[in-house]
Symmetry: C2
Subunit: 316 residues, 2 copies
């Protein structure tokens, strides 16, 4: 049994908050699962969680709208380059028409890799996404009023990392994180955990000449990927293993209110996280009402009105 079950969430630093809500909710049919704030630093920045209505791990993509803070990131190697969402086979035409109708930037040609068709499109802040068509995804569709369930997103399919070099990172995925190597396709390397279905796949894109991107919180970049683990005990199993190998920049288990996080940088420079699935979003809102109100962790709750007043108003 793998300690890492697949993805927990992906986190990107985007531009404005409202255009981000419009992208995930109106365009992609994701639910706003939680509206809260980034817990690092003094100045308030939203932390917006999107996914299926239940907020299941592996469906969650989260945003820090950084335009407000004025810190720009630089896209490049050593970063997650593409967020890949899983959709059913046969749905790409629906999405191409939808992108076209809604003025979304998308690639003319459907691509194919590892036997899967995929459609590239862009977030308004410039971050790239693929929809990957798969018949191996048993997860329920993310329900939205204007998207037929047979075309709807199922959750995260995979992530594509841009790496100048892959040698050390290939070893790391297997020895440190116990992913299995699933094959190579041109400059792409594929790794899987826990069965290899959508939601458990990491890809490397070897880009030897691509300049290093920033690893700060900065507009226009995907900051980290969180893998799902059961609880703090399982985080500590990974931490012990990483420390004993020499990856000693592994954080403690940090309280992120809805889960606990442990962070570490893989050799290629991408920020990884192990996040626990044992807490969840029902601690401050009833299921069926996730994302309804602005939520803060207990230690910030008395500052709610002050923080909210300093943030861009958004409507779903």
């Amino acid at each position: 049994m793998s300690i890492i079950k697949g993805f927990h969430h992906l986190t990107a630093c985007v531009s404005g908050a409202q255009e981000d809500v419009d992208f995930y909710v109106q365009l992609l049919g994701q639910s706003l699962v939680k509206k809260t704030v980034l817990l690092d630093g003094e100045e308030p920045v939203y932390h917006l969680y999107y996914g299926n209505a239940q907020g299941d791990a592996g469906t969650l993509v989260t945003s820090f709208p950084f335009r407000q803070k004025g810190v720009k990131g630089r896209r490049g190697s050593g970063q997650i380059k593409v967020i890949n969402y899983s959709v059913p086979k046969g749905s790409l035409d629906f999405w191409r028409k939808r992108f076209s109708a809604k003025g979304v930037i998308f690639q003319d040609e459907v691509a194919e890799r590892f036997g899967e068709l995929r459609q590239r499109f862009q977030h308004p802040c410039g971050i790239e996404f693929d929809l990957v068509a798969s018949d191996r995804d048993a997860r329920a569709p993310c329900l939205a009023s204007d998207i037929p369930p047979e075309f709807a997103i199922r959750g995260i399919h995979s992530i594509t990392l841009s790496l100048r070099e892959v040698a050390e990172s290939v070893v790391f995925m297997q020895d440190a994180l116990q992913f299995s190597y699933a094959g190579e396709s041109g400059p792409y390397h594929r790794f899987e955990t826990a069965g290899g279905t959508p939601g458990t796949i990491v890809e490397f894109l070897h880009e030897p000449d691509r300049l290093q991107g920033s690893s700060i919180y900065g507009e226009g970049t995907i900051h980290h990927v969180a893998f799902a683990v059961d609880n703090v005990e399982q985080q500590m199993v990974i931490k012990e293993r990483l420390m004993s190998m020499g990856y000693i920049d592994t954080s403690e288990s940090v309280n992120r209110n809805y889960f606990r996080s442990m962070y570490f940088k893989m050799p290629g420079g991408v920020m990884f996280e192990a996040a626990t699935t044992d807490i969840g979003f029902a601690i401050d809102e009833e299921p069926g009402h996730f994302g309804a109100d602005f939520q803060l962790p207990p230690w910030l709750r008395e500052r709610k009105q002050e923080l909210l007043a300093r943030l861009e108003p958004i409507t779903v």
Copy 2:
């Protein structure tokens, strides 16, 4: 006042333990300050501390003799490439004769950089060292019977990092760690903290085509550099700053018995540490007797005979 005072220690994974003792103590005139074990992982590996007799921060270079464990590292970019020791001006001839007499591999030519003459030589495991001649080092000499004090090592001068790219790391040194940029010399960039005297200098060597080295504990590589901070409170000031910028792979304050350590990876991939100066080596041996016996932290002390029996015997 800088939070980072200069170096605390540098740590390398070397080959055999006895040849390492011979290199630092017999050849370089360093004192064995502490003989203990690596605190990560199950299998015992020595942790040998060398420096001046008082074990002062900024003189300490420490070794994990990894031949015993059979894990090889790979030298490359994203690593510390050279450990630079500080010696008085006019002493390089003494050292060249000494290297020659003792069969040490050293470079034919004395080099010059940033107005300082420097002599390259090699540790038996292949790690590179420079002796840098400086008249700005007020620290007391490391005393040894066969090295005249006027030629003796004063402590660490600087470290030289090998980086494929420097842009993100140049910003990091200044914004995250508050070093000042001290200039450029060909492919070298120099940074200083707390006055810029020997013991406070970090150099980048820009090697755009050099393949990435390993970041595991592995024979033949310099694993990390520890900078000196006063105490845990100062570590936490740095941790808060790093976290708020997005460098969230910053460890908690780890108990290393003689100091507390907080680890984080800089953008170029090198493992950095902030180590506290408020504990020290007198907790288990009297000053004047540092390194005399095999020492273990309280939580391992009852296993002393078992652990020692599994380690290569060494004599100073």
